[in-house]
């Protein structure tokens, strides 16, 4: 479980825990017990319970999207091997495989530990892998990460899609489109209706074709600028 204390401004203050691992939380800290109390008190008017209550098991509608894995495309290479492109959500992404992919598309490097944390706490991480199945029966399959997209979300209203990338040698085949479409389906399935992303100029048309609109009704993203 990943718990980070964020604010310890006074001795008598209860620290605010940045509890990012909701689904796997099994231990109770008093703060979380009170939190579930207060959530319940929103539903039951006369709830005066003071006992420490274990957080209830995650309600069904609160679950993260069901992990999926399936073959998107399959093609036979000139050398006789078969290359499958496999879509997957919910699998683990090796941070260094991702870094190699980011290098290929020319993105600046980011600290691996931060990337790992970000992936772990994303609502959904979708990947594309190219699997080259050798024609022999030895099982010498080569698996390579060739695409990724992830979304953060509050599990209810808002989702933001970040870090969409496809290996340049696999671009132009509709794989990026497939990544995003699957992600949108998964989000809408969970009733998450505000789906946002921040697109570079070069890819605005790509997303427009997928149903995204720039600045809809004047809605624009703004970003924090540090003041020193």
């Amino acid at each position: 479980m990943f718990q980070v204390s964020l604010s310890q401004e006074s001795v008598q203050a209860q620290s605010t825990y940045l509890c990012l691992d909701w689904k796997r939380a099994t231990k109770v800290c008093p703060l979380k017990a009170n939190f579930w109390d207060s959530i319940r008190s929103g539903f039951l008017k006369n709830n005066n319970t003071t006992e420490v209550i274990e957080p209830p098991s995650t309600p069904p509608e609160d679950e993260e999207p069901l992990p999926q894995e399936f073959v998107l495309t399959e093609r036979t290479q000139p050398d006789g091997t078969v290359e499958e492109i496999v879509f997957s959500s919910g699998g683990d992404v090796d941070v260094y495989d991702l870094q190699a992919l980011c290098d290929k598309v020319g993105w600046p490097r980011r600290p691996p530990s931060k990337v790992a944390t970000a992936l772990k706490n994303s609502y959904m991480v979708a990947t594309l892998h190219a699997i080259n199945r050798s024609s022999g029966s030895e099982g010498n399959d080569r698996k390579q990460l060739i695409g990724m997209a992830r979304a953060t979300s509050d599990h209810a209203f808002n989702a933001t899609i970040w870090d969409v990338l496809v290996d340049p040698s696999y671009q132009g085949r509709g794989l990026g489109k497939a990544l995003i479409e699957q992600m949108i389906r998964a989000l809408l399935q969970r009733d998450i209706g505000n789906i946002t992303l921040f697109a570079d100029d070069k890819v605005v048309d790509f997303y427009r074709n997928l149903g995204f609109e720039p600045d809809p009704q004047g809605i624009k993203g703004m970003f924090w600028y540090p003041r020193y």
């Binding site: 990943f2 964020l6 604010s7 310890q8 401004e9 001795v11 008598q12 203050a13 209860q14 605010t16 940045l18 990012l20 909701w22 009170n34 939190f35 207060s38 959530i39 929103g42 609160d62 073959v71 495309t73 399959e74 931060k114 990337v115 944390t117 970000a118 772990k120 706490n121 994303s122 953060t152 979300s153 599990h155 209810a156 209203f157 808002n158 970040w162 949108i184 809408l188 009733d191 209706g193 505000n194 946002t196 992303l197 921040f198 570079d200 997928l210 149903g211 995204f212 609109e213 600045d215 809809p216 009704q217 004047g218 809605i219 993203g221 703004m222 970003f223 924090w224 540090p226 003041r227």
Partner: protein, 239 residues
Amino acid sequence: MASSPFPAAFIRFSATPQNPNKKSRKAPPITISTNRSCIDVVHLRELLHASGHSCHRFPTVGADGRPEPVDLGKLSRAVAHSPVVVSVFCKSNFPLGDQDPGGISRFTGFEQMFERAVSVPDPDSLLIGFGRAVTDGGLTASIHDVVVMPSLQRLGIGRKIVQRLVRVLTSREIYDISALCSTEERLFFRACGFGDDMLGSTTMMYTRTAPSGQEGESMTKQAGRMLLLAPPSTRRGSD
């Protein structure tokens, strides 16, 4: 951040009347907290509704011109999955807005805003402000649903909420903090130190809707007043 025994932090809060033609408004005694156990989602829903704020970006508007009240279950879930939440409370005996006929504050005493974490919701306190942030804990964060009760707006409370959210996030080394803004909200966030993306990115939202009358196997989902059309499933066998 160094912990001091007491008081946690006294921040002098002086009301700066935005409209000098009206009589000067006294700053209310307010407390600001990042403790999520103070949040009663029923009160939060009332605050959102009173502020005319919707959690849906394209809300259904009711007969009174305000967005429909938000679904309580979804609101609970959203708050639960926002790692940073800020709530602002005001003593309930403080006159709010036009309800005070004599225009005289029954409140005497200090006009300082102080920070204190409360472990249980204070029954005498009214939720008058709120804000939350969603983050992946490593790289990015987004701020949502910053609201202040209308009668207490333009006193700097909203800015305090955003400052607190930002402070908590940056203390965890998250500096990529975004906020989705309607045209009206842009001025507010600009005053909070937000600006256009340095990298010049374009904000885009999924708005593909189902053409009316079109039935079929396509999944549609209601998001506020928009009936969003999901892309067709891309699952297929070999090409």
